[in-house]
C-alpha cells in the first residue's frame, strides 16, 4: 500500500512539528505539517477517498475525524475544520506547497476565528402552552369560544373548526415573532449567526416540544458567559426550552473561497 496522499483534518496555528498519535481514521497516525506559523493536521493515506457501503463503518470514520478535530482544538486552540474525506494527493511537501499557496487565505481565516468557537442553540416551545397563551390574549377568539358554547351542536362544530384554524394561524405567527425576538436578543452577543436548517434529530427530552429556532453562532470566548445568561432567561420563560451546545470548531463559519 503506497501512502502517497494526505487526509486533511484541519488547519491550526502552530509552528512546531507534533504528533497526535494513532487517533486518526482507522487508527492512522495523525501528525502536523507546518508551514511558517500554520500547520495542516493530517494522516498519510492512499490517494483515494474513504468509501464504503457499510453505513456503520462510514459513521465510525466520521466520528474518528470529529475526535481528531476535538483533540486538535485542545492542543492548538482555534482550528479550521475540514469536511470529511478531503484528501490531498501528494506527500508532506505537496501539503506544504498548498499551505504556502493558500497561506494568506488560511492565516486570515485563522485570525478571524481566533478566540472564538461555534455554538449551537436550539429553542423549543411547548406548543399547547403557547396556544393557550395566544387564545387568552385575543379578545376576538375568546368571544368566539364563549359563543360556541351556547350554539347548537351543528353550528358549534363549524365554528369550533373556524376557531381552531384561526388559533393555529395566530399561534404560528406568534412562534415566528418569538423566534425573531430571541434572535434579536442573541445577535448582538455573537460575531456571526446562521439560522440552521431543521435538524432531523431531537433530543429525547424535547420530543413533545416544537422547535422554534436553530442557530449556529460564532461566539468570542469572552461573550459566551453573557450569551449563556440571555439563553438562561429565555429558558426560564414558561413554555420555552433552550439547548445550548459547544464549543465546536467553526464548521459553519470557515470560508476558504476568496471573498467576492
Amino acid at each position: 500500500m503506497v501512502k502517497e496522499a494526505r487526509y486533511l483534518y484541519s488547519v491550526a496555528r502552530t509552528g512546531h512539528i507534533a504528533q497526535l498519535g494513532s487517533i486518526g481514521i482507522q487508527e492512522n497516525n495523525v501528525y502536523i505539517v507546518p508551514y511558517k506559523d500554520i500547520a495542516a493536521i493530517v494522516h498519510a493515506c492512499e490517494a483515494k477517498p474513504y468509501r464504503t457501503e457499510d453505513k456503520k463503518l462510514a459513521e465510525g470514520w466520521v466520528l474518528e475525524h470529529s475526535y481528531v478535530i476535538d483533540q486538535a482544538m485542545k492542543m492548538f486552540g482555534t482550528v479550521l475544520p475540514f469536511s470529511f474525506d478531503v484528501i490531498i494527493k501528494g506527500d508532506d511537501d505537496v501539503v506544504k506547497e498548498w499551505l504556502c499557496r493558500d497561506y494568506e487565505n488560511l492565516a486570515r481565516e485563522l485570525l478571524r476565528m481566533q478566540g472564538t468557537a461555534e455554538y449551537s442553540i436550539q429553542i423549543y416551545c411547548d406548543y399547547d402552552y403557547l396556544e393557550k397563551l395566544v387564545l387568552a390574549n385575543n379578545q376576538e377568539l375568546c368571544d368566539l369560544k364563549n359563543r360556541i358554547e351556547k350554539e347548537s351542536k351543528g353550528k358549534a362544530y363549524l365554528q369550533r373548526r373556524n376557531l381552531e384554524l384561526k388559533l393555529k394561524s395566530l399561534t404560528y405567527s406568534e412562534t415566528g415573532r418569538l423566534a425573531d425576538q430571541f434572535c434579536s436578543e442573541i445577535k448582538p452577543l455573537v460575531k456571526e449567526l446562521k439560522t440552521a436548517g431543521r435538524t432531523s434529530w431531537t433530543p429525547e427530552k424535547y420530543r413533545d416540544k416544537k422547535l422554534l429556532a436553530t442557530y449556529s453562532c460564532l461566539v468570542s470566548d469572552e461573550a459566551v458567559k453573557k450569551l449563556g445568561e440571555v439563553l438562561e432567561e429565555i429558558n426560564g420563560k414558561e413554555g420555552f426550552y433552550v439547548r445550548f451546545t459547544g464549543p465546536w470548531a467553526p464548521f459553519s463559519f470557515v470560508r476558504l473561497s476568496e471573498a467576492g
Partner: protein, 189 residues
Amino acid sequence: MNPEKESCLVEVLDRLLNKGAVLNADLIISVAGIPLIGVTLKAMIAGMETMLEYGIMEDWDKSSRELYASQETHLPLFPGEQILYKAFGYLREDEGLIKCWVPGIWNITSHRVILWVKTPGKILFETPRENLRVLRVPASHEVRKELELIYPQGSRRISLSDRNEFEEALAGTAEERAAKKGSELLITG
C-alpha cells in the same frame, strides 16, 4: 446556562459531511496546481460512471484520466482553432423549471469559450472570445467559485475550482490576440 459539550451522531454527521472547509470538493480536474481529491459520503454510493458524469471524480486512475482526455478529441473545433485551457466546471441554468448547475468541461480555445459535455457529446454553451468580460461574483455556495461571463448577447454564471487559472488563461491569450488583432479583452477582478 453553560453550553454542554454533547452532540449526537446525527449532529456530528451533519457537521462533518455538510459543513467544514472543502477543497475543490467536486472540482478535480485542473490544468496546473495541486490535485485534490474530495468526495462526500453521499457520493460513496454513486458508481464510478455516475461520479464522472457529475464531476465527482473519485480517483486519478488511468481510466478516468483517459475518459477525460478522450473528450478533447471529440470537441468540434474550427480549422486552426486550438484548445488553450481546460478545466472541470459548471454553468448556471436559470431558465426553465429546474434551476441548477450543469457540469461539463470548460474549454478556452483560441476563438471561443465553450462548455463541453461528453455525454451526449454536445456543446452546452459557447461564446466568441471577442468582447467577453469576466466578473467575479460572491459565491452562493461554499464550494463553488463563481464567475460571470458577460458577452454582447447577455451573461451567464459559471463556476470553476480555480478562477485565477481561468482568468489568467483568458487574459494570457487575450494579450496574444490583442497583439495580433488589436482587439482587447477586458478582465476585471
